[in-house]
């Protein structure tokens, strides 16, 4: 009965969707605002990558919001999860090849992540993509050897510093330009150079570090959660966090 009712509902919803989607123009995007941004992007932001211009300059507040969502999700996950002792793990350590491979990949992933972040205003890529690569650099070794200690302390400071930088750059621009989150107080620079497009590279660097640290700590929280057959650690929450 329940199955029947849900199927009926789905058919209804599918019909509703097909009516909605049927009325949409395809391949004839209205480009109301998009065209204006494509035309004004270089002059306004100096960034070759228009998506970067939209993310960090035109819609910077959205990016701050999404950054904060990652942060608050990681915080809430850290509040909910029980921790098991470091080194106590149900999951076995991976074999030599995986362990050595993870160690070997670490510096290359760091370099690639840094490259993707710093060239975000010129080429495809940027803070989110690069941040995800940075996070992978840290949790690939962690996946290979699940029992190892996670650098929570250092991570907390990177996280706080990067997040604060993103907002402080915004507040700083109030004094220079009069507007919050105006990224152009450094000048747009020479188009196509690494150091150009105002504070966009700085913003992307802060964003990348923050995203990397948040994704890393989210994975660490999930990995630190004891499985169903691990013994509980009776430890007061406050003691765990300090």
């Amino acid at each position: 009965m329940r199955q029947f009712a849900s199927l009926l509902f789905l058919f209804g919803f599918a019909f509703f969707l097909s009516v909605l989607v049927g009325g949409l123009p395809f391949g004839a995007a209205p480009m109301q605002v998009g065209q204006a941004i494509v035309e004004q992007n270089i002059e306004a932001t100096g960034a070759a990558n228009a998506v970067t211009g939209v993310l960090l300059a035109f819609r910077g507040m959205d990016t701050l919001g999404e950054l904060t969502i990652l942060f608050v999700a990681a915080t809430a996950a850290g509040m909910v999860v029980e921790r098991r002792k470091h080194g106590v793990s149900r999951d076995s350590v991976a074999g030599f090849i995986l362990l050595a491979g993870a160690e070997l990949m670490f510096p290359f992933l760091l370099i690639l992540g840094a490259y993707v972040i710093l060239h975000g205003h010129l080429t495809p890529g940027g803070g989110f993509q690069g941040g995800a690569i940075l996070a992978a650099a840290f949790f690939v070794p962690f996946l290979a050897n699940p029992g190892r200690a996670f650098q929570g302390h250092a991570m907390a400071f990177v996280e706080a510093f990067a997040g604060a930088t993103f907002i402080l750059l915004g507040i700083f621009s109030i004094f220079r330009e009069g507007d919050f989150m105006a990224p152009m107080f450094l000048g747009t620079g020479e188009f196509g150079q690494l150091v150009s497009a105002g504070s966009l590279p700085l913003l992307y660097l802060a964003l990348g570090l923050k995203v990397g640290a948040e994704l890393g700590s989210l994975v660490a929280e999930i990995a630190a959660a004891p499985g169903s057959d691990d013994p509980l650690i009776e430890e007061p929450q406050a003691a765990k966090d300090l």
Binding site: F16, V19, L20, G23, L24, P25, A29, P30, M31, Q32, V33, A36, I37, Q40, A44, A57, F58, R59, G60, M61, D62, L64, G65, E66, T68, I69, F71, V72, T75, A76, G78, M79, V80, H153, A156, F157, E159, A160, F161, G163, A164, I167, L168, G170, I171, S173, I174, E177, G178, D179, F180, M181, A182, P183, M184, P236, Q237, A238, D241, L242
Partner: protein, 490 residues
């Protein structure tokens, strides 16, 4: 002082908190309330500035409206920001094992709520809405109890589903119009009058309605409110649910006024009122009665919003303000009477002040004159008779029937409280917690000054969309004036 600081300051403080508490553990305790207090002062200053020089539009980052994101420093947004900061400060949770992380979450909630109250960009509203939502998933689980975790997960699933549907609605609007700015969308109503526009409104009502406790996706309400600390329930029922409505209010006032999709919101509201009040009648414990009654009240607000026009919007705002002050006080007073309703017998005589105030506040929810809840329902009925041509009788009948049910269960509780029963053993919770007393005082002030508040709400509504509303104004009788006249006689 730029109103953007209202968003930036709490978020900055939240980012710094995890690192700061590793240097000094006590930071986790005082940092959060202090920052919210500072934010409250800034919000009050910004609110006063709007009183002096009128509503302002802010182009974030200096990029003018359709290209960048627009914030509205108007009466509605800043009033909501002041109330949000005040409510977070007063209802700071106490029974949490992890104070520092809860502080972080509350700081984010404050900043995001201020952003949500002011934003005039469709996607930016979605981002802040989602930020508020994730913060409340964390808050719902903050006391670490197993039932609270389950409630939080089920709330998260409904919330994520709702957000995805709301985003689908936003995608439809963007595909149709190519812009996200509410002002610009307001001038493109013919592009949004087809099925895509109506469907988008329906999807956004469902999606944003999750937080506003509106009909289809509100299963989470009783579960979450029954298992969190009473202060968290008070915060969520009091102000967070209003933020969800605020989004819909802006959308309807600026973009979707007169859209056929509002019919959907109307019936969502009516179903919310009817199901909420019936479920509250059947509920077995105090927390769930209050939770279901909250669903019913938000349903009324949705009906008022759907009717629109000046009368409808003012009715919605009065109902929201009434609920905002009454429900937190009820949750805090009811803290002294946990568990089953049957255990209430005779408890009122042990704490007469708390019980009497409980009944007084409940009377306002029912809508007994001269309390503010009465003016809300009165204006709502007025709006129904003015705006609805067919089926007004059915609508009014359903709402009045729901009110009768509401009165029945509140009177049953009152009868139990003052009825016979063994003298209750004294617990440590006082009959009237200090914070509840503050809410009661604010409520009494609202009751006495309904006329003035009504005048201000009229200004709030006019600030939303100047031209069209002033044109429509002549069609309606002057409701705030009638509130004023009758309010002063009482």
């Amino acid at each position: 002082m730029n109103p953007e600081i209202l968003i930036a300051l709490p978020l900055l403080a939240a980012f710094l908190l995890p690192a700061a508490r590793r240097i000094d553990a006590s930071v986790g305790i005082w940092w959060g309330p202090l920052v919210v207090l500072a934010n409250l002062v800034i919000a009050a200053m910004a609110w006063w500035k709007v009183q002096l020089i009128g509503p302002q539009s802010i182009a974030l980052g200096g990029f003018a409206a359709p290209l960048g994101i627009e914030l509205r420093a108007d009466h509605l947004g800043l009033s909501a920001a002041v109330l949000l900061n005040l409510a977070v400060l007063l209802l700071w949770p106490r029974e949490t094992p992890d104070k520092a992380r809860v502080s972080t979450i509350l700081l984010v909630l404050t900043g995001a709520g201020c952003g949500l109250a002011m934003s005039a960009d469709l996607f930016n509203l979605y981002v802040f809405f989602e930020l508020v939502a994730v913060a409340t998933y964390g808050l719902a689980a903050a006391n670490g109890k197993g039932e609270a975790l389950i409630a939080s997960l089920r709330y998260l699933i409904l919330g994520a589903l709702g957000s995805a549907l709301a985003l689908l609605g936003i995608a439809l609007v963007y595909a149709k119009t190519g812009t996200l700015n509410l002002t610009e969308l307001g001038g493109m109503s013919e592009a949004l009058s087809g099925p895509a526009g109506i469907g988008a409104l329906v999807l956004m009502v469902v999606g944003f309605g999750v937080k506003a406790e509106l009909f289809p996706l509100n299963n989470w309400v009783p579960e979450v409110y029954a298992h969190t600390e009473s202060r968290v329930s008070a915060l969520m029922a009091g102000i967070i649910s209003k933020l969800g409505i605020l989004v819909l209010l802006r959308l309807i006032a600026e973009v979707f006024g007169g859209s056929p999709g509002l019919e959907f919101l109307l019936w969502v509201g009516v179903l919310g009122v009817v199901t909420g009040e019936l479920a509250a009648y059947g509920a077995k414990d105090m927390r769930r009665v209050l939770a279901y009654s909250s669903i019913g009240q938000m349903g009324l607000v949705a009906v008022a919003l759907a009717l629109g026009g000046e009368t409808g919007f003012i009715a919605a705002l009065i109902l929201m303000l009434n609920h905002l002050l009454v429900k937190p006080a009820l949750f805090l007073i009811a803290d002294a009477w946990p568990g089953s309703l049957k255990a209430l017998a005779g408890k009122g005589r042990a704490r007469p002040l708390g019980a009497v105030l409980f009944v007084l506040l409940a009377l306002s929810l029912i809508g007994v004159p001269p309390l503010p809840g009465f003016w809300g329902k009165y204006l709502l009925l007025d709006a129904i008779f003015t705006n609805v041509t067919e089926g007004a009788g059915l609508l009014v009948g359903l709402i009045l029937a729901a009110t009768v049910v509401e009165a029945a269960y509140f009177f049953r509780i009152a009868a139990r409280l003052f009825g016979s029963g063994e003298a209750a053993e004294e617990s440590k919770i006082p009959g009237l917690p200090a914070v509840a007393a503050l809410f009661v005082i604010a409520f009494l002030a609202l009751s006495v000054q309904t006329g003035r508040v009504g005048d201000y709400l009229k200004e709030v509504v006019h600030g939303l969309q100047p031209q069209e509303l002033r044109m429509a104004q002549s069609d309606f009788p002057d409701p705030a004036a009638s509130v004023n006249g009758k309010g002063e006689r009482l």
